[in-house]
């Protein structure tokens, strides 16, 4: 697993030593198409990840919605599962963001079975994973449209969509919001600010930056806490 991406870890995403294998080998699920496999190869190349990745289509009987993806691990093999409806609505770049995001979870050791659930730590993990996802596409509009599509399951053409309007939603207009992920506006804000951070600029060999790493992480963390308190 790539160690260079470890630098993207959100400061408040506590490191987990546990790395329990959670899925049996040969999961016995439907494998993805060649096009998806090619996208995975491209993401691996972009992120310089050498992991053995096997992707499959999540069975229909999953509980958590139509548009979902997950990652699991067995020894050094990563299993990435994506639901069929999600595969249908995403284009190649958006799919790269999702795959990058899931690889991020695996890099940061989020695949272990947790002992307890806590909103705050779960949301911090998502911030870390989003950073890897963004690094896989290096395009804010792709990250924004992917988050939007996963949330609402709508195709880009069918809905008027702008990054600004997404950013303006301090609280999500939908009542039933996932507590494991930060709200969309916060996720997007975090990605945008990360794209201007010192750590990311150094990663893409650019000199100018806007945000210091520690200050950025503190800012995002305070916003996550504020959001959880408002819920």
């Amino acid at each position: 697993m790539s160690k260079s991406l470890e630098i993207f870890r959100f400061k408040y995403d506590k490191y987990s030593k546990l790395d329990t294998p959670t899925l049996f080998m040969n999961p016995g699920f439907k494998t993805v198409t060649k096009a998806v496999e090619e996208t995975i190869c491209n993401v691996k190349e972009t992120l310089k990840v050498k992991a053995n990745i096997r992707a499959f289509v999540l069975p229909d009987n999953t509980f958590a919605g139509k548009f979902n993806a997950m990652v699991s691990k067995n020894n050094d093999i990563l299993f990435i599962g994506i639901t069929e409806p999600l595969l249908r609505i995403l284009d190649n770049k958006e799919l790269s963001f999702v795959i990058g995001h899931e690889i991020g979870h695996a890099i940061f050791g989020h695949v272990e079975i947790k002992n307890e659930y806590e909103n705050l730590s779960s949301q911090c993990r998502e911030i870390s994973a989003d950073r890897v996802g963004f690094a896989a596409v290096n395009d804010i509009s792709v990250a924004a449209s992917t988050i939007h599509k996963i949330k609402y399951g709508l195709k880009h053409q069918n809905v008027k969509f702008s990054i600004r309007s997404l950013m303006d939603w301090v609280k999500n207009p939908l009542k039933n919001y996932s507590t494991s992920h930060p709200i969309d506006s916060l996720r997007l804000e975090s990605i945008i600010k990360f794209s201007m951070s010192k750590i990311y600029k150094e990663y893409i060999n650019e000199l100018s930056y806007v945000f210091e790493n520690n200050k950025l992480d503190k800012l995002i963390y305070s916003k996550i806490k504020e959001q959880i308190l408002h819920e």
């Binding site: 999540l58 039933n176 494991s180």
Partner: protein, 332 residues
């Protein structure tokens, strides 16, 4: 050779017959002549023949009755018939199960040499002969068998039955109140029965709806709901479920398996643990290691994706069950 074998032997009978007709006329028509002091043979008339035959018949009746009967049948060509006593002895066990109305009358059976009692029994067990009423009775018997497994009929379990009755009524093309009334009376009739069997009734259900998958799924869902109605899976209920699953061949039917899971996974975490352990043992006993892996992979993914639920209690449940699955996989 004892006396019985002697009288049953055809050869002896034939020797006796030939001997009788050769020597009897000679013996019976010899008279003692006092004058010449010697035996004298005299001619016999027709009335003597009658007496010979009468005496012969009496001897045969007394000594060679079985042989005579056998030979008589062979000559008349009637074949082997059986006495009413023998018939009753051979078929007494089978006829108990068969409706007497389906048996042909006795005067017909004696004429019809091709009559076969086993044919009627096989027709009775054939799926074609299971009508809708018999299927419903079987279904209610299964429901009540499950409900009574813990000693008493729970109102929640009866609720499941009533919901199923309501579903049947809604689907019915006939007058719904009439259907509801007739189903209610069948249910009452079954409830009053004292003894119930599970296996044969489940077989009747399976035979009746085996080809109608959606109906099969609906019935199976109601049965599982009846089992989980009290929110507790006790060992007796799990035994019943195993019997039902083996009849419905659930390990080959993904749809039914998903139906069962969707009902049972609504229960509390400790009950789900019991359920997983029970199913794990069944699969392991059958040596289906690949099936165990596939099943628990599927389950793991279900619960893993539920981690992204909007409800905290579901996320907590998901994490707990992931651990259970992880511990179970160590036992393979």
């Amino acid at each position: 050779m004892n006396w019985k074998e002697f009288t049953n032997n055809t050869a002896f009978f034939l020797v006796f017959t030939v001997g009788y007709y050769l020597f009897e006329p000679f013996c019976t028509n010899i008279e003692w002549n006092y004058r010449s002091k010697s035996y004298k043979y005299c001619n016999y008339d027709g009335s003597d023949l009658f007496w010979y035959f009468l005496v012969y018949s009496l001897i045969v009746f007394a000594l060679f009755r079985p042989v005579a009967k056998r030979l008589l049948r062979a000559f008349t060509g009637e074949g082997k018939s059986i006495s009413s006593k023998e018939y009753n002895h051979n078929t007494s066990k089978k006829t108990r199960k068969v409706d007497n109305n389906n048996l042909p009358p006795t005067w017909e059976t004696s004429k019809n040499t091709n009559f076969d009692i086993t044919k009627i029994i096989s027709e009775e067990a054939d799926e074609g002969s299971i009508d809708h009423s018999r299927f419903l009775k079987a279904l209610f018997r299964v429901f009540y068998f499950i409900a009574e497994s813990d000693g008493k009929i729970d109102p929640k379990e009866e609720d499941v039955m009533d919901k199923h009755i309501y579903k049947i009524c809604r689907r019915s093309m006939e007058n719904q109140s009439y259907v509801l009334y007739s189903l209610g009376s069948i249910k009452k009739e079954i409830k009053d029965e004292k003894k119930r069997l599970l296996g044969p009734e489940v077989h009747i259900i399976k035979k009746f709806i085996a080809n109608d998958l959606s109906h099969l799924n609906e019935v199976y869902e109601s049965i599982v709901q009846c089992i989980t109605a009290d929110k507790i899976l006790d060992p007796r209920e799990l035994d019943i479920l195993e019997t039902i699953d083996s009849v419905f061949n659930i390990k080959e039917n993904e749809i039914l398996l998903n139906t069962r899971d969707s009902v049972i996974l609504e229960l509390e975490t400790d009950q789900i643990f019991i359920y997983y352990k029970w199913y794990f043992k069944i699969l392991k006993r059958q040596g289906l290691v690949e099936k165990i892996k596939k099943y628990f992979n599927n389950q793991y993914i279900k619960w893993k994706t539920l981690e992204q639920s909007q409800y905290d209690h579901l996320i907590m449940k998901s994490i707990k069950i992931q651990k259970i699955i992880f511990n179970l996989r160590r036992d393979i």
